[in-house]
Amino acid sequence: MSTPSFGNQESVRRWFDSRAGLWGPGSSDDGLLDWLEQFCTKVERQPNELIDECLRAATDSDSLVLRTRARRRYIDAIAQFELDNASRDAANVVRSFFIHNGVAMNPTVLR
């Protein structure tokens, strides 16, 4: 099966749907996709792969099991992405993608 185009991947659609559900229609735009795509290029993964690495389907139910090492790896990668781009906003776009897909994470708050 071929990989769906970047914006049509299930994890990306879920991200946008979840954002629309919480923040209302029009809360997401192509600018978000641009930052996510840059991050994906940097870590050489597709969006679905990022989520699949962090959340494993449980064998006995339809729930998910958090893979803490994978999550930690991406938390660190996003922190580096923030430094590389000198942009908290850019990194938060990527964090938002993970969070709406069920992978909780937070940066340190800005003081």
Binding site: R14, S18, S63, L64, S96, H100, N101, G102, A104, N106
Partner: protein, 273 residues
């Protein structure tokens, strides 16, 4: 009533006016306060049943009594039996009952959200199975829950605010089950005796506690939180710190109240005080 005065007014009230009914609206206010209390994952752990002295037979009152609460059941016009529902977490998680974290409500209303790492998917597919579900297979577990105490205590402060006297004491669980027909999954928290005080509002005075510095610490248990005298002076002015027990008139007052309520005065009890 000012909050600090209500806190300062906490006493182990013992003498109520048994003939003076408590207005139903005041009882409701106590319950409303309990309902608004903080609770983990917004789950309804705290439950209560209100009973009235005059609606209980003497035999029923006997069933409630423990060595620490016997006479209280005879003098307090209202008793609120507070419970912890040991099945509440299961109902919240499996039945998605009530507006809780498990039902998705807290994310939906913006109490918890992406700024803290939370989303609907995180709740339903990670928090529920990994945090809230483990342990449920063991069934209801006795051993208390702080949240049941949180709800009850908020009700207690509301009672004081309503000008009522309150006392907490244990009740007999099996006896109460017979009378109140409580579910097996409810574990007692405490009985709250409520009524108009027959004694002075000061009662015996503010009751003793261990040294402040033996209970409160800064950063580690070997660093006592040393009280600032200027703060205690402010709190005294504001009514949180009040005259310590015993007030000088306590003994004659207690004897007079005992006579009034037809309770033993102690004069005829060996070793009385």
């Amino acid at each position: 009533m000012e909050f600090k005065k209500a806190v300062g007014g906490v006493r182990t009230y013992q003498y109520f006016e048994p003939w003076h009914p408590v207005e139903r609206g005041k009882v409701q206010t106590i319950l409303e306060a309990g309902r608004l209390a903080s609770r983990a994952v917004n789950t309804a752990f705290s439950k209560a049943i209100v009973a009235y002295r005059d609606s209980l037979s003497v035999e029923e009152r006997e069933l409630f009594k423990t060595p620490l609460s016997a006479a209280l059941f005879d003098v307090a016009p209202v008793v609120i039996f507070w419970y912890y529902d040991m099945d509440a977490r299961r109902q919240a998680v499996e039945e998605k009952k009530w507006p809780t974290v498990a039902s998705g409500t807290l994310v939906g209303i913006g109490a918890l959200g992406p700024p803290h790492g939370w989303s609907h998917r995180y709740v339903q597919q990670v928090v529920l199975p990994e945090v809230l579900t483990p342990g449920l297979e063991a069934g209801p577990q006795r051993g208390g829950n702080p949240d049941a105490g949180v709800g009850m205590a908020q009700g207690l402060l509301a009672a004081l605010d309503e000008g009522l006297a309150v006392c907490l004491a244990p009740f007999d669980e099996e006896g109460a089950r017979k009378v109140l027909r409580t579910p097996e999954t409810w574990e007692p928290v405490t009985a709250m005796f409520v009524g108009y005080p027959a004694e002075s509002v000061e009662a015996a005075g503010q009751e003793p506690r261990p040294d402040f510095e033996s209970m409160f610490f800064e950063q580690s248990p070997d660093q006592p939180f040393v009280r600032d005298d200027a703060v205690t002076a402010r709190l005294r002015e504001q009514g949180l710190i009040q005259r310590a027990a015993p007030v000088p008139w306590r003994r004659p007052e207690a004897r007079a109240l005992s006579r009034m309520l037809e309770l033993p005065t102690g004069d005829d009890v060996a070793g009385g005080n």
